[in-house]
Amino acid sequence: MTTTGEITFKTEPFVLNFGPVHPSTHGVYRMRATLDGEVVLDIEPVFGYLHRGIEKLAEERTYTGFIPLTDRLDYISPMSNNLGYCLAVEKLAGIKVPERAEYIRVIIAELQRLANHCIAVGSFLSDCGAMFTPFMYMFREREKILDLFDMVCGQRLTYNYMRIGGVSQDIPDEFLPALHKFMGTMPGMIEEWENLLKQNEILLARTKGVGILPREMAINCGISGPVARGSGVKWDLRKADPYSIYDRFEFDIPTGEVGDCYDRYRVRVEEMKQSLRIIKQAMEKIPSGPIRAEVPHLIRPPAGEAYAHIEAPKGELGFYIVSDNSIAPYRCHVRPTSLINLTALREMVKGWKVADLIAIFGSIDITMGEVDR
């Protein structure tokens, strides 16, 4: 019911379908939004348009043969998926990774975080209505990272680079100089965006105080990564449960205070600076030596189970693997960061306008490949 002066209008909620094919849904996400005029009353997410049964496919592949499929989970950051899976199998089979490989992995994983946050921030700004200009700025930087990845593994999107016990091949001689050059330009680029965006009035108006996720709700919903840290949860697996060699590097965990879209955006930008810090330290200390442990072609981990998790760019990415001492996993479960981070979306968007719904959804940063698997 809406009253304007003396006239009273009768209003009725109606259902609007977003997606699965819509520029703002970052893939094939679909939500059925119940609206009252322009105000969102409720949303119901609908998944499954990209479901490929990856967990079932794992059961009929060898342990190494599953690595290319992990690329297709979160296809914005495949290197992180490779790393998470390899860590789980290494934990299960008790494989020790050589030093040089550990350093390469850290450098690559942090570059991947930079590339992911470029897309996350770029598409979020695009969702806020800043069409294409910031998006292209971010893509320009991501392109340089993709060039670096191209150099180490010959691929630009589905890398398939990590191996159980190390990495598939050593970094070429040109890689470190090229990385050095990239490290020289990247801080200036982040600075440039900061100057353009940090105090931008339109951005502040669209994101400050919008879509607040309270700290308690973030924890209760199992939310991780920049979304949780934006709400003030100081939880980063690189510090809380250090895997690989992350305990050797100095870096901070940026957190937000309010838990609104702006905080989530800020946390991502600050995290990029921290990633640069880690890469810098790793570049200085990288030793020479073997890049892969000696593992058999067909790995048969002893019967048992293992769960390994990493701080992927989007949050906690985990692999739960059960082995029956054969050449293929008996069961391989992926803890999907993107799916779980969507749990609180419904509460976050209630009462906001449709345009805010798009911005709030964009600020969570999901990939449908990981949601649907």
Binding site: G222, I223, V233, A240, R331
Partner: protein, 147 residues
């Protein structure tokens, strides 16, 4: 470093409070009977000194003779973790209580298990298929599913 909680210790603590609720105290996981799962999960979440406030994941494994539902919980305050398991031996109509009332994060994951493994979560507010379509026959992650 996240410390796995000593299972023997926590098992005797729970056994004292809820006698007969534990099926097996394995080396790194606690297997509880499904009818006392909710009580134990609530105990782990709310007891001082345990405070498992963060729900890592829930998944299910088909071992032919029974289904095993695996929960991992973490306490952000104390940085310790525990793996909780429950088993359902009824293959025709497997069911375990839903923990969505305690941790909302279980919502989509329980729906996923219901969809792909066919285990019902009693008390779930919106238990329907999440990835596959309505009317799909069978549950693909079961070991006896034929493609």
């Amino acid at each position: 470093m996240t410390v796995p909680l000593a299972i023997k210790e926590i098992a005797s603590q729970i056994e004292k409070k809820y006698p007969g609720s534990i099926e097996e105290a394995a080396q790194n996981s606690l297997v509880v009977k499904s009818d006392s799962l909710l009580a134990i999960a609530g105990y782990l979440k709310d007891t001082e000194g345990l405070k498992f406030d963060y729900f890592n994941y829930v998944t299910a494994v088909d071992y032919y003779t029974y289904f095993e539902v695996v929960y991992q919980l973490t306490s952000l305050e104390f940085n310790h973790t525990v793996i909780l398991k429950t088993r359902c031996y009824n293959r025709e109509n497997p069911a375990v209580p839903s923990v969505t009332g305690l941790w909302q994060g279980a919502d989509f994951q329980e729906r996923e298990i219901f969809d792909l493994m066919g285990i019902r979560f009693e008390g779930h507010p919106n238990l329907k298929r999440i990835f596959l379509w309505e009317g799909f026959q069978g549950h693909p992650l079961r070991k006896d599913y034929l493609q």
